[in-house]
Symmetry: D2
Subunit: 353 residues, 4 copies
């Protein structure tokens, strides 16, 4: 009920605050007999971790995952996979100045009001650090459904948009630059923008596009648990996300039916794909693509007014080491959450065969 | 698992195909002692039902809800509320021509592939008729949380946008016109557009904005079940929805942090509300507002190519009585789903006090 | 949360009070493509219905199930199966004398205290009438797992015990007598006892033994959802049940390990089966057998003291038509609940293959 | 679905094999603001741990719980409580002889058949070691509902029964002897029996009685989630349990209604309590009491025939350090599971107020 579990079959439950001893989770429902590529899991974590490049936070956290159960001789056993990632770089003193202060557009105020008590050290549970556990689970999910290609990339930073459709991109280039935009020219403009923003002590928003390919027909449940509804929830559960659209998205709302309908080919594929690979909540075998909007990071290295717990407006300035733009590090998180949604429907489908 | 249940505490499970005997549902988890206004429930259904005006489908369905249990002497008893809505106007013959045909951008093809069998009469379970059950449950939910104001309205039809912010609107005007746009001048342009589209046998998309006011602080769970993530899933589970954004939404992704942060007043409210009333997944007491994108209805009264079950491309033309624009009738559905999300978090919050 | 749903995959949600308009339910998660034998379903309901013989309640209720959805041309479609059973014989006036009275060992008092409001007509939701919905769902479940043999029978009434082990019984004889004991001689003694008890206006308890045969190896989950734990919960959720034991049961608690261990044969079967077909919560392919204890029905046709809502002790006498012994009519309920547990684990197992 | 989570609101998910790195769990849904007595938690673990006395296994495991999250300055924060208990005494070599052998009446065979792969070191996930995590969660649950008294004790070992009713016992004496029977004379006979059995290399079964006092009226849900049904499932999910009965239990099945009904006092209490404190699945404020049957431990220090994975019968003899009777160490587990059931219904009840 408290919402720390994701998934119905391949279930991830996470725990851990940014400045506690460790974060981690339990994956319950991973089938037995999967030979795990542990390096691939760590590699996903490394894509998310701080300090990778000059445009992300310079915190140094090794983010090494340690598996405690559910794996025997490299293989999953069908029992729960418990794992921890130790918090090795918790500079709690960085946060002492905000003990009684609610930062603007952070969760400090709402946590305090909801729970009456709050681990004020660095965001606690609301910190995006929690998403490292999602990346671990998503990496295992990817290995279960390794026929499906999951590719996310940065499609905008501020008002710099990658104009090319995904069909014209080479996803193998995504990791070739710090902003994770597969178009090198656009990537450079994005990086330039982020660096400029960082210099101002400011931050900037952006969007991520994610493309799912080689999808089996029939994933998704037709009423409440539509495939795109679960993808949407998964994305909206990521820190800083403000919007989700798939297929034609908000543009589709401006269109006429005669322009929007996807006409069939004889093999069941469609000539266009404004539907985004999903009909009636169920995958139709065409590519699924969606776009996720991220707000600018709320922690600024600028003076801002905040509220203290006594109801006084106080001036504060972000310290610590924060991301000027959350999007590059959010790419592996978007992919992980997509993998978690897909693996659930993939397993569920076997059930009804 | 099959996804016909919504909610964790105030749980709605629905059943029924558009052309079966009846649709209906069970609400499990409604607290006892609620004196129900049955007229108000029927009134919500009437807002959704076909045949209300010249810009919606002319099917005539009385859509009368009949309660079978859980209510005694007008009061909820805490036991499950079973209800049915009979299908009185099932012109099954209207659909015989599509028995072996998959209509473009419908769920015919995906249902057939997923289930191997399909009630081909009019969309079966994928029909928006299922949402009538949601409206019943949402109407009861509204009565449980009647301090909260839930107001949805049509904010665009095609490229006609209601430009005024919600603060400048009088929600009591929403029901005063057929398109449910509270600004009369814009409403007229929208209605004009829909009538023109209908004359072409075509359809058009649109967006709905929904505003939630007088929200208690603390609704929503911080990690996977963020308030906006559950709202997003709820909206994306409605037929024809392609996108969801809240607060600053996709526009927020273009902004800088120094422009986006909502600065506190001394009472904990904020000077701006780009956050859309939610911080870290938890309501902060400010207005919640979000926008939902609907694609154009896929059934056209025009000739189109479709696919038959033998893999042949066949020409078909929509018959029956269909909506040229889904948005006006979707308003009460959006409100109902918002009420279901809110009531769940409202009840959940009592649990932890 | 309010506990009106049973099952995780093949989920039954029930609604309805004994004296409302109808009872019924929704089965969500039944796979598509199952050709239903509707007569077999009605037949199971007929085994449970009142008025079958002289030793059960003489109420006349046809208990005809009406399916509203999820079945098309006799086949399940994979969508939710909604059904109702109308309450045709609700003699509400029979119950007016207990409006403000809490009957001893009934749920009147606890419902009133829990909900603050109560449908006082005949037990409302606490009536065993609710179990008719379970019998419908169980009958469908049986058709899905029709390789498994599910046989329950009366193994004791009061202190009359059927001494023969189940291996010596012919289950085809169970339906040949009113008490549903497959041993004719014992059955006669049981019937005699029940008739004597009924003449006194009294009631009597009994036990049911249930045998599950031809079980696939591997059903059940190893920790909390052990096969026998879910069977136990299922049985304990039936009205009037006071105990559950499987395999060696309470006798096993008196034994030594060297006597209790089941030694393997070379084919993986075991020479003895004190384990009752389950090891570590998982079926091992041997027969599963368990025993369920039912208390005597609390409604007596004798004068008893009861409590009224003002705190006065009042004399009352059961009216209406009640069972002198619940066991004969509970046989199909025990089988139905066993089928619901098995079908869930059966489907779940497919998921992990 | 894989069944490693217990509870609906105060949810415990456990992980870990007996011979892996660690066992542990996540408690999700514990309300914030609970000042934890950490010593009391460790004390419960110490009651369960091996090596406490001469009649339990002589393995030495400190079983120290380490909390990783959800607690800040000694108080729960409302976020998930992650914890681990390291496996410090995993003598894996003790188990190498059973790598390819299925021990009789163990879960080796069913795990192998279900999962196709198995951590053969000492029972893996089927080991009762898993229950240490339940004891941690139960100890926290107890602190949340500390008005309720939960007292379990050994009520039989083999055929030695504690004949006194619970009302005549002094629960403060339970911990005064190694077998945890509050009647000293009976305790001595039980201990004597266990020692004799141990000398034979054999094992013996027993029963635990548990008494819940000072229970609020209204706990439990009326249909599937009856209070006693959830207690039954909880108990049956404990390793080696074969049966559960509450109130009059199996004896009640022999009784007449006129003897079994509990007649009210004017204050709503009852003169007798054969109902065991529950009516219609809901607590009535009277004491709840139930009895749990445990089979004899399957590991014998005697020669037995076992089956190897090639289908040969092989002779084996248990090595390692095992319990001759599981009951004394199961007392805190029974109490923990009872606490987990109660806390869930306790929290759920707040929700509907």
């Amino acid at each position: 009920m408290a919402g720390n579990t994701f998934g119905k079959i391949f279930k991830l439950t996470t725990f851990g605050e940014s400045h506690g001893i460790a974060i981690g989770g339990i994956i319950d429902g991973c089938p037995s007999g999967l030979q795990l590529d542990l390096d691939a899991i760590q590699n996903e974590l490394d894509r998310r971790k701080p300090g990778q490049s000059s445009i992300v936070t310079q915190r140094k956290e090794p983010d090494t995952v340690e598996f405690l159960s559910g794996i025997f001789e490299g293989q999953t056993t069908g029992t729960p996979i418990g794992f921890v990632i130790k918090n090795t770089n918790q500079k709690s003193k960085d946060y002492s100045h905000i003990k009684d202060v609610y930062r603007p557009s952070h969760a400090d105020y709402t946590y305090e009001k909801k729970y009456g008590v709050r681990d004020y050290r660095g965001g606690g549970r609301s910190s995006a650090r929690e998403t490292a556990s999602r990346v671990v689970a998503g990496a295992i999910a990817k290995q279960l459904i390794n026929n499906i290609a999951i590719n996310a990339y940065t499609s905008s930073v501020g008002d710099i948009f990658l104009e090319k459709p995904y069909q014209d991109l080479d996803f193998s280039k995504t990791e070739s630059n710090a902003v994770r935009c597969p178009d090198q020219e656009t990537a450079e403009r994005m990086i330039h923008r982020i660096k400029a923003i960082k210099k101002e002590g400011d931050t900037i928003g952006g969007t991520i596009t994610c493309v799912l390919q080689n999808i089996p027909i029939g994933l998704g449940e037709p009423v409440f648990d539509k495939l795109h509804a679960d993808l949407g929830k998964a994305m909206l559960s990521i820190n800083a996300v403000k919007g989700f659209e798939y297929g034609s998205g908000f543009c589709g709302a401006k269109m006429k039916g005669s322009d929007h309908n996807d006409i069939f080919n004889e093999d069941g594929s469609t000539k266009t794909n404004l539907s985004g690979g999903i009909q009636g909540g169920i995958s139709n075998g065409m590519d699924i693509y969606f776009r996720v909007a991220f707000k600018p990071v709320a922690t600024l290295i600028q003076k801002q007014n905040a509220l203290d717990s006594s109801g006084n407006i106080v001036e504060m300035q972000g310290k610590g080491r924060h991301d000027p733009c959350v999007v590059p590090r959010a790419i592996p998180i978007v992919e992980a959450m997509a993998a978690l949604v897909l693996v659930d429907f993939y397993l569920l489908n076997k059930l009804y065969k």
